[in-house]
Amino acid sequence: MEDEYEGGVVKKFLYVNRRAPHGTVYALESLETVLIGAAFDQDVSVLFIDDGVFQLKKQQQPEGIEVKNFSKTFRALEMYDVEQLFVESESLAERGLSEDDLLVDVELVSRASVHELVDQQDVILSF
């Protein structure tokens, strides 16, 4: 298995998602990296800010543009032991969204506290 890691080091990884899904490939690739990263037994958090919150929006129907509805995969993250999904409240509010609009349970964080999450990390992956 090329995608496993036996080094024994555990680092804190933060995935930062700032873009709407489908307009660019980054949302899809971020999810892909999180899933593959699960085999590495690292301490993973995923943060959704700015247009990244649209990635978690319920009822995405991308059939009309002929792309995969990968948003359902967010529901599977729990099985991969990725349970730390953070969403910024202000980003939701600016877009007219609330927690009820999201596909999965998340932890809400305020804009002012985002840096506290970042300060704990070893590696930041931007998508």
């Binding site: 709407a20 899904p21 307009g23 247009d51 995405q60 991308p62 009309g64 543009i65 792309v67 969204l97």
Partner: protein
């Protein structure tokens, strides 16, 4: 002499939408496609700006649906079109200006 202006980026990410609106003629139209479609609905920080526009506003509905938003939530000033409607808009206007 009307122009069809196309904006494809979310105004939360890029300033293109405002940069477009500040320069176009009153009789022009604006079509929101791709990530720009996220502000076609009510309740966003751009609802007021878009509700006060003199121009005709359109959104590409397959792009809206892809992002989990529906035609039912559209701003009163916004008309949803599908790809055939997009083609019609192109033919009905004198020229197309893509704000990239």
């Amino acid at each position: 002499m009307a122009t069809l202006n196309i904006v494809n980026k979310s105004p939360f990410e890029k300033r293109t939408l405002e940069q477009c609106l500040s320069r176009i003629a009153e009789g022009d139209s604006v079509l929101l496609i791709e990530d720009a479609s996220v502000v076609a609905v009510t309740g966003t920080a751009y609802a007021e700006l878009l509700s006060g526009c003199a121009q005709k506003l359109y959104v590409l509905s397959p792009d809206l649906a892809a992002r989990g938003l529906t035609d039912k939530e559209l701003l009163g000033t916004m008309t949803a079109v599908d790809y055939p409607g997009f083609v019609e808009l192109v033919t009905e206007h004198e020229r197309v200006h893509s704000w990239l």
